[in-house]
């Protein structure tokens, strides 16, 4: 608890108290210099002056830095529509070849279920797959749709899940596969 209180105080002093105090002192000093005494009017005038003097240089310098940052973003990233849509596949460190396999195997209007393995698969994998595979529709459970997307699932479990159906495995990645349920399971 004491650690929490200490860090709370540190944040106030380091991050907010310094600029707040600096601005307050500037306001009071300006007000005193202007009229030689403090009144509501002088303090208000000094506040406007100090805040403007505080914000304008910050906005100008930061504006220039922001322009440079945006320009480097513009130069560095120029994604086509398709590559932009696959951004989460790269961002979540998933296998982009698998998306092509799934898109090529599952018809665009079909329904499918997603099963992900428990190891070395990003937690956001089902969301990313659901997005990149649209307009194909994801269902909640295996068995509710004829197609299965199996990401990071061990080969033995894959065969169990398709229940006599067929499996298309991504070359070099036996744990990534697209399946179609067997006729009995459907």
């Amino acid at each position: 608890m004491s650690l929490v209180v200490a860090s709370f105080r540190a944040a106030l002093v380091d991050d907010l108290l310094v600029p707040t105090l600096a601005l307050t002192v500037a306001v009071l000093a300006l007000a005193a210099i202007r009229r030689g005494r403090l009144s509501r009017t002088t303090v208000a005038g000094a506040t406007v002056t100090a805040a403007t003097a505080f914000l304008v240089p910050l906005a100008l310098t930061q504006g220039w830095s922001s322009v440079k940052a945006l320009d480097s973003q513009r130069r560095a990233q120029h994604f086509s529509v398709e590559r932009a849509r696959l951004g989460c596949v790269v961002g979540d460190r998933m296998e982009s070849g698998f998306v092509q396999l799934a898109r090529g195997t599952i018809p665009p209007s079909a329904r499918y279920s997603i099963t992900v393995g428990r190891v070395a698969v990003p937690t956001s994998a089902p969301l990313c797959l659901a997005q990149v595979l649209l307009p194909r529709r994801p269902v909640a459970r295996v068995g509710q749709a004829p197609w299965l997307v199996l990401y990071g699932v061990a080969p033995r479990k894959q065969r169990t899940l398709v229940r006599g159906g067929r499996l298309v495995v991504l070359t070099g990645h036996p744990e990534l596969a697209v399946g179609r349920l067997g006729s009995r399971a459907r």
């Binding site: 929490v4 860090s7 709370f8 540190a10 944040a11 106030l12 380091d14 991050d15 907010l16 600029p19 707040t20 601005l23 509501r40 009017t41 303090v43 208000a44 005038g45 506040t47 406007v48 805040a51 403007t52 505080f54 914000l55 304008v56 910050l58 906005a59 930061q62 504006g63 922001s66 940052a69 945006l70 320009d71 973003q73 513009r74 990233q77 120029h78 994604f79 086509s80 529509v81 590559r83 932009a84 849509r85 696959l86 951004g87 989460c88 961002g91 997603i114 937690t123 956001s124 089902p126 969301l127 990313c128 659901a130 997005q131 649209l134 307009p135 994801p138 269902v139 909640a140 459970r141």
Partner: protein
Amino acid sequence: MGLIHALGLVSLRPGRLVLASGLAYLAGVASVVPICIALLTIGVPVDLPVAATVTAGVGVAGFGYAFLRLRRTAPTACESEGVQSAPRKWTFPLVLSRLGILLIAGFLVFGALSSKHLPLVSDDAHIFSLRALALFHYGDLVPEVFTNPALVRSHLDYPLLQPVLESLVYRAIARPDVALIHIEPWIIFASTVAAACYMLSSRRRCALWLPAIAALAVAPGVYMQVSRGGADVSESCFLGVAALSGGMWVEDRLPAHAVLTGLMLGAAASTKNEGLGGALAILIALGLVARIWQARERWVPWLAAAAVSVAAVLPWRLWMSGHDISNADLTPLGTALKPAFLSDRLNRVPYAADKMLEQLGNQGRWIWLFPVTLVVALVAVTTPRLRLVAAFYLLSVVGVTASILFAYWITALPITYHLQTSVDRTVTGIVFVCALGAANLLAALGEDVGRRT
């Protein structure tokens, strides 16, 4: 445009219409998209003809109401203030401030164009674009995406304003161009800056309010988020304009400002869950500062603002409740409001407050807009004319901050993880309220001083 004309916030002169286009766009989104969401929740697919009909309906209703009202009464105070002012002399501060506005506009256009070909990542890919693409392909709330328990991590409870807007953009350009869609949040942000400039310019000198607006426009914390396509900045834009408009209502009691506040709060609450807490906080602050219980002229506009906000939010909340969807990140309020539960987690409050203050004091992200607003508001509270307006902004900032702090207090996620992954975004609404409030107060203080001296 019809809507803000009906409210008496713009007259039908070409120059004024151009200047008010930012506010018109925000008001249009804030009114049309919630209606589209309501249609979706009752099972009506929203395609381009439906959206166009709703837009035309809102516009025609607005212009029709304005026409009938103008036949009966004189132009409102706001119109006469803004339009019938004397021509201005081109003084040095005026030239400088016009140059500043041009620079800000140039920056916003450059920012939008620089974000044109960015990838979909993070929340944008997993939540907003997933839903926007589903709405583009199917036009309605297909259960496979909107109620599917397998996609619970996509926050099924998140409101729909941004996905619906993006899906309509896709339909308008006839293809799901996800690379181009990053321009949409920039348009909302630029419209907010333009709306603030328009609202403030009708009553205050530009040189006085421009520094705060400029600081907000170029703050790295804002443009970095806008480029990533999340909804936090969009929600904050609506919240900020609502606070600005609320402050104007406290000052001039023009009912149009109260209604505009309600409209913007409804849009904020329809964009993100944080917007709901923020909207509630601002409505309470508005009611307290305006002392609505004292006179009918006060509680009627306030009630109208509250009703507009509730009408925008209610259909989605009812649909969620009908489909048994709730916020999985937060403990249900039934449990969370128990004193024993709250006291057990009390140590989370200073920890979360520490992280939030650390963010708000981060000059590299937010250009110290928070401490500047605190000082300006505290000085303004001591002046008789601005006491209530300053109190409203202070209460709003405290209220919005408290609503986010409460969410961290009752979070079902590990607090460290929740803060690490969200605090740099959740404070955005506070910064927008600060920036637009500070702009209004600085200009009002400056004019007070000018009058007295």
